[in-house]
């Protein structure tokens, strides 16, 4: 030992080996235990980011539809989780792309009445102006209000007008007044709208051709072309609606026919329709569209697909373990024997394929068309209507529909059936909680998607 350089060297080597082993052990423990937690944190954040972006996409597309705007709207989708500094060479990435597989079919075994299609009354508005949409202040939201007028004897200097007064629930009632006038002297056939400080009115400078019984004059007061709709939106609910007619000129012209069709949500949250519809067996066609799917390949957090389809965002952890993480516009309510279903579905179309990489992806959505129908089923029918969704995320949709119909206490009047790749919502009326029929408001927004 003493003075033997060889043995000294061995001691140094042993010390170095011990230190190396200690360091290796510490790093092993850290790598196996702590690093995955950090990775999982960052990957969970990535999942939430993508989820939020896809959820925002729904409201953006719906806004395009409401405005009647083609768009496009764009969204930047991150495809790579943040990296753990120094210790993680390659962060988790995912792919985003369109995939086939979301379709909807609508079946009406009992022919429903079609009230409104794309905001226009299908049949001549027939409900008398003397009986406004709801007695008293019970209109929570006025969805559509279509007036129909047929006049005779409206010649130069004479006019027929209908005044619509809407009063809100404020302590000092705010009132909007719309005056719809058919003035015989005007030459233009276009509608114009004048907005005053206290009075908003639609004036029809219509020719006599529009004032005949065979071609009644119709106008949807809540059409986005008129600012009356936006003024109405500022009133406090519930609302009271009244109508008054006025004939001007000598000899006075006559109002041959008058009526309205309205769709509104009452103070109990139920969708109601007044007026007359047209029996239509196939009021809305089926569609077969696509899904926008984010497929992550995480290293620590569970790799669960996110799909934007039909207007909702779903997470997919397996064929039967799926959930809606951002709900579509869907509302089910039952009260006083009336069932309400309001549902906006988004139909995506575009070239299939995916994008991956560290730079993220850009989603561009263009609104191409919107179908908007309001239907009333017969009071006694079983089934009255069924809506079938074909999608790999059928379990997630069934989960949502079960929840919504359950919370609405729809009971046997709304049932959900699911099979592999398919979920069906069936509505019935007559013997369950719903005895007076279902009011169904369906909006199908068609859009084209590109992912780059």
């Amino acid at each position: 030992m003493n003075g033997d350089p060889g043995e000294s060297a061995v001691s140094a080597v042993v010390g170095a080996v011990l230190l190396l082993a200690l360091f290796s052990t510490a790093m092993s423990i850290y790598t196996i235990s702590t690093l995955p937690e950090w990775k999982a944190d960052k990957e969970e954040i990535q999942q939430k980011r993508v989820q939020a972006v896809l959820g925002d996409l729904r409201s953006d597309v719906e806004a395009l539809s409401v405005r009647g705007d083609a768009g496009p709207v764009t969204a930047a989708v991150p495809l790579e989780a943040a990296r753990v500094p120094l210790l993680q060479q390659t962060p988790a990435r995912g792919t985003l792309g369109l995939a086939d597989g979301f379709g909807a079919a609508f079946s009406f075994p009992a022919t429903p009445s079609l009230f409104l299609s794309d905001g226009a009354a299908v049949a001549a508005p027939t409900t008398s102006l003397a009986t406004p949409p709801c007695a008293g202040k019970c209109v929570a939201t006025l969805e559509d209000l279509v007036l129909g007028l047929a006049t005779s004897g409206v010649t130069s200097g004479k006019s027929v007008s209908v005044t619509i007064t809407i009063t809100d629930s404020a302590a000092t009632p705010a009132t909007l007044v719309a005056v719809l006038s058919h003035v015989g002297t005007a030459s233009s056939s276009d509608l114009t709208l004048t907005v005053g400080s206290t009075t908003h009115y639609v004036q029809a400078n219509a020719g006599t051709a529009l004032a005949t019984a065979s071609a009644p004059y119709r106008v949807n007061l809540l059409d986005s072309r008129y600012t009356f709709a936006s003024a109405l939106s500022r009133l406090s609910e519930p609302l009271q609606v009244t109508f008054a007619t006025s004939l001007s000129g000598s000899p006075a012209p006559s109002l041959v026919a008058s009526g309205y069709t309205a769709v509104f949500t009452d103070a109990n949250g139920l969708l109601r329709a007044t007026g007359t519809g047209v029996a239509t067996a196939t009021p809305i066609p089926a569609f077969a569209g696509q899904r926008l799917v984010y497929r992550p390949a995480y290293q620590a957090y569970p790799s669960q697909d996110l799909s934007f389809e039909g207007g909702g965002v779903l997470v997919d952890a397996g064929a039967t373990t799926q959930a809606m993480v951002a709900d579509p516009s869907l509302r089910v309510a039952v009260g006083a024997g009336v069932g309400t279903l309001e549902w906006t579905l988004i139909d995506l179309d575009g070239a299939a394929g995916g994008v991956s990489g560290s730079d993220g992806a850009t989603v561009r959505v263009t609104h191409t068309a919107t179908q908007d129908v309001v239907l009333l089923t017969p009071a006694s029918c079983n089934p009255c209507a069924s809506i079938t969704l074909d999608t790999p995320s059928a379990a997630g949709w069934a989960n949502l529909l079960d929840l919504r119909t359950g919370l609405a206490n729809a009971g046997a009047s709304a049932t959900v059936a699911t099979a592999t790749g398919q979920t069906t919502l069936t509505l019935a009326s007559g013997s369950g909680p719903v005895t007076a029929g279902w009011v169904i408001h369906l909006r199908i927004i068609h859009a084209t998607v590109t992912v780059t």
């Binding site: 290796s24 052990t25 423990i29 196996i32 359950g406 919370l407």
Partner: protein
Amino acid sequence: MASESAVSSVVGTVLMLGITVAVFGGFSVFALSYVQGEAHAPRADIAMVKEAGALYIQHKGGESFPARGGTLYVNVGGTQVTHHLSDPAFDGILSASWQVGDLLCVQGAAPGCLYAANADVRGAILVDQNALLAEVGERVGSGSSPTSSSSTSTGPPPPTQPFLDVDGDGVFTPGTDTTINATDLQDGSYDAGPYGLVIPASIGPISAAAINFNAGGTIVIAVDLEATTNPLSITSGGDIVFDSAALATLNNNNDMTLTAAGNITGTGLEIFVDGDLTINAGGAVNFAEATLSVAFSNRDLTITGASVNLTSATLSSADRILVTTTSGPLAASLVQAQSSGAQIWKSNQGGIVLDAATLDAGGSTLTACLATSTGQVSLAGTLSITDGNNKLNVQRASDCGTDARNSTYVTPWNATTQAATE
């Protein structure tokens, strides 16, 4: 020989290296198994959604985790109700593990929901592995939390002015509730009509010749009340809630009466009465840790409720103490009850718990009365009995009557016995 020596050195080094790696490898395995075996909060997206008439919890992505280990705290009408998800009541509602899409309905019209759609569910908290998984709505009390984290409390701030609680939510809602001038309460008399009444601590104590507060809804009192020459009476069509309050009547024969159609809650409440003290609730009476004192002779301390909680309370009466439950348990562990007259602890359903109680009836009788054969009187722990015979009667309620002074001892009590049942 030199070359052999070198070989020996190399062999030794290799052996030491092997031993070192083996030792550290073993240590690593042990350490890793220890680290990985630690429980951690589930990394899952648990959504708790509250809508009109509905509150539900849903797993919306992330890890699956055991569903039955958590605890759900629900704020029902301002009272916290604790649900341990391991309870058998959840057997048909929850599976063994929370997986993506799994749902628990806390409130709603659908079958299987814990509370009906019209229940006064104000909020809920789900805790698992000591971690807050989800929370929605308002917490019970002024920001108190069942978890260590209180910084995320969404509870409303305490009110600063008395008000009529028109919407009955216990908090001041501008445009709906109506404030009251504090001076209108200082004379000790106020009728809130059909609404609730909230008297915050900020207005200070109320001392008047008589105290008489009535309300169709819940009454919340956070001030001291003193009736100087006449009785004190509080009557509610809903609940009565005392928050750090003290009540007193002065002068002889001034009674105090608290009556509520719902619950009466006064944890830590202090009451001093120079007359009869009568507490009558259609719902539960919760006077845990309260001090109730009846000083005048020939006056009783009477408490009646669907269920009664007097855990760790101190009761004293110059005459009798009569405690009765109509449909629930009578919980009085650690209670200290001293009376000059008889004591009757009576439960029509649910049993009586007098664990480690101190009961002193002077020379009169002590009686525990049960109405059902399934009820049980629990007397576990060190019990102190002081009456004429060092005994506690345990009887069926039908045999008790309203006055046990003449009742018969059916179960001799020996103070050294640790438990007794009917």
